[in-house]
């Protein structure tokens, strides 16, 4: 595989240059060939990141040079594909500093990871009827609805930790730590909470919250979909019990995600889906199952995506997660300052610390109209409820426009965003 060109790897301490990073992503040059006067401004990395050439090449390499199913054939392509999948598992292990590759379950994405937990925990010794699960108002629907289904099917008690709704508080829009602490003082078995809110960018101080939960013997599952590509995540330092994220939000392919679980807890969970690959011995009377992680990986997975996630991780590591975090916080600070200068803009609060997301409304212009007008200027943002309807309801809005940042963004992208927002205002009169 091609190595990243020198500006990336040579000077690991220098700030990132979004313009140089853009060159790693073929979509920008390909689009510029069609739209030379209005190059693509991609501000929707929170929904999904663009893909670097190395990730695309890894997938193509697999399909063109050694495609086969895994864990089945004795021929060399199958062996090579199986090895590649296990190498990806090790790459994920190292990315998040899991104790072992066996802690890493490949899923189809964050949504499946959370559904897997909610579907299997009630059949394990970890959770029983009448137990209590706590989530928060910051959550994406994927970290709400699976727990609601579990609540209704297994008579689990579900409580919701509120955000700070006081507009005068410096933590407005962030998780209300006092209210959460009170909730966790009541007998609770599991806390499932986001690392970083997708709709607003509110950063959750999960390390402190996990420590507090563990003092009460409460398990903690973290939805890391919006975190892993934007900051260094160390599951052992966090001391979390479960951590889930998606490949496609970390510059990798769609179709692959990760469930990290503490070894003894993964071992305590029954299978999620059943079928091939996850069994030891099958007879019509009885079947015995593989240990984790294979127990949770029934059937043929998205092998190309799993192979692609390794290339994505190598990309993240070559660029450097500390540099990415600094780069994106610089972009957010600039965006907040520039957007604040636009009349009638309302920026959604994100508590004390904001990750690479700015969510806003602009006067009476509906976010969907903004999305269409910005698209006319070749600027991609997300508009709508961001699969976080309860959070937006807490903030008193039905929909927002959201700009979210990635390695390839630069200050000029934000200038283009602001110019286009002013154009929308001029149109609306």
């Amino acid at each position: 595989m091609d190595h990243l060109p020198s500006p990336l790897a040579s000077d690991a301490k220098s700030p990132l240059d979004g313009a140089i990073l853009k060159k790693q992503f073929p979509i920008f040059a390909n689009d510029a060939a069609k739209n030379p006067t209005k190059p693509l401004v991609y501000l929707d990395s929170g929904a999904s990141t663009q893909k670097p050439a190395t990730v695309i090449a890894a997938i193509r390499d697999f399909y063109e040079n050694y495609y086969a199913n895994i864990h089945r054939g004795v021929y060399r392509f199958s062996q090579r594909a199986s090895d590649a999948v296990e190498q990806s598992r090790v790459a994920v292990q190292k990315l998040i500093n899991a104790p072992s590759a066996d802690n890493i379950v490949f899923t189809s994405g964050t949504t499946e990871g959370l559904n897997l937990l909610a579907a299997t925990l009630p059949y394990s010794p970890l959770l029983k009827k009448g137990d209590r699960v706590v989530i928060s108002e910051l959550e994406h629907h994927a970290n709400i609805v699976p727990w609601q289904m579990m609540r209704d099917r297994h008579r689990i008690d579900l409580a919701v930790a509120p955000i700070d709704r006081n507009p005068d508080s410096d933590n407005y829009g962030g998780i209300d730590r006092d209210a959460l602490a009170k909730l966790l003082q009541k007998p609770t078995r599991l806390l499932a909470i986001t690392h970083s809110a997708n709709a607003t960018g509110a950063s959750v101080p999960v390390a402190e919250i996990i420590a507090a939960a563990h003092r009460h013997g409460i398990l903690v599952a973290i939805d890391g979909a919006q975190a892993v590509a934007h900051q260094r995540v160390d599951v052992q330092a966090l001391d979390c019990d479960f951590y889930v994220f998606s490949g496609h939000k970390i510059y990798g392919p769609t179709g692959v995600g990760v469930l990290y679980g503490r070894g003894e807890y993964l071992a305590a969970l029954p299978p999620y889906q059943t079928g091939g690959d996850m069994i030891e011995v099958v007879s019509f009377e009885k079947t015995s199952f593989q240990p984790p992680p294979q127990r949770f990986e029934a059937g043929t997975p998205d092998i190309a995506a799993i192979i692609g996630i390794k290339a994505a991780i190598e990309f993240l590591q070559a660029v450097g997660l500390a540099r990415i975090a600094a780069h994106e916080h610089g972009l957010v600070a600039y965006a907040l300052a520039e957007l604040a200068a636009i009349p009638e803009i309302t920026i959604m609060p994100a508590g004390r610390k904001r990750d690479g997301v700015v969510s806003f409304t602009l006067g009476k212009i509906h976010p969907h109209d903004l999305g269409t007008i910005l698209d006319d200027d070749n600027i991609a943002i997300r508009a709508g409820h961001h699969c976080a309807q309860p959070l937006l309801r807490c903030l008193g809005v039905a929909a927002t426009a959201r700009a979210s940042f990635g390695v390839y963004n630069e200050f000029s992208d934000i200038d283009r965003l602001c110019a286009s927002l002013r154009r929308a205002q001029a149109m609306w009169g």
Partner: protein, 153 residues
């Protein structure tokens, strides 16, 4: 005209800023609620029909983008005095136009109304926004087919 100006014509922006017939109607004989779960837009359509089945009052309430508000506003103006059969013809023509099909050549007495609704035809260049324009019409059809009837909001 660019696609964008064709979409956001002055008449559309005017109706979005100042939607006509934007109120609940406690005297409505037919009403229905429309909701787009993908974008969260909602609309409630209120109709009052006379004994001959003609619309004597059409109102709506809800929230959504300029396209859905303007579409609902124009719709409530246009259906006034029409029968269910005429409304079906207008909707068929409207739907054909906004999805990029040909107009269905409605009868001469409806031609002016059909042309007026065609202000929204710019949406055909934006497939993801067609649903915004059509949402109020689906609510209207649901109201006429007895989705919810009776007065009160």
């Amino acid at each position: 005209m660019t696609d964008l100006r064709e979409l956001y014509q002055d008449i559309i922006l005017d109706h979005a800023r100042h939607p006509r017939n934007f109120a609940a109607n406690a005297q409505a004989t037919h009403q229905a609620h429309g909701h787009n779960p993908l974008c969260g837009d909602t609309v409630t359509v209120y109709l009052k029909l006379d004994d001959q089945g003609r619309v004597t009052a059409a109102n709506f309430q809800g929230h959504g983008c300029a396209i859905s508000l303007a579409s609902a506003s124009l719709m409530t103006e246009t259906v006034l005095g029409k029968t269910g059969a005429q409304i079906d013809e207008l909707f068929a023509d409207f739907q054909a136009r906004v999805t990029g099909g040909k107009d269905t050549a409605p009868p001469p007495e409806l031609a002016d109304d059909a042309e007026r609704l065609a202000a929204l035809v710019g949406v055909k260049a934006y497939p993801s926004r067609v649903k915004c324009a059509v949402l109020p019409w689906h609510a209207l059809q649901s109201a006429l087919s007895g989705g919810e009837s009776g007065g009160g909001a």
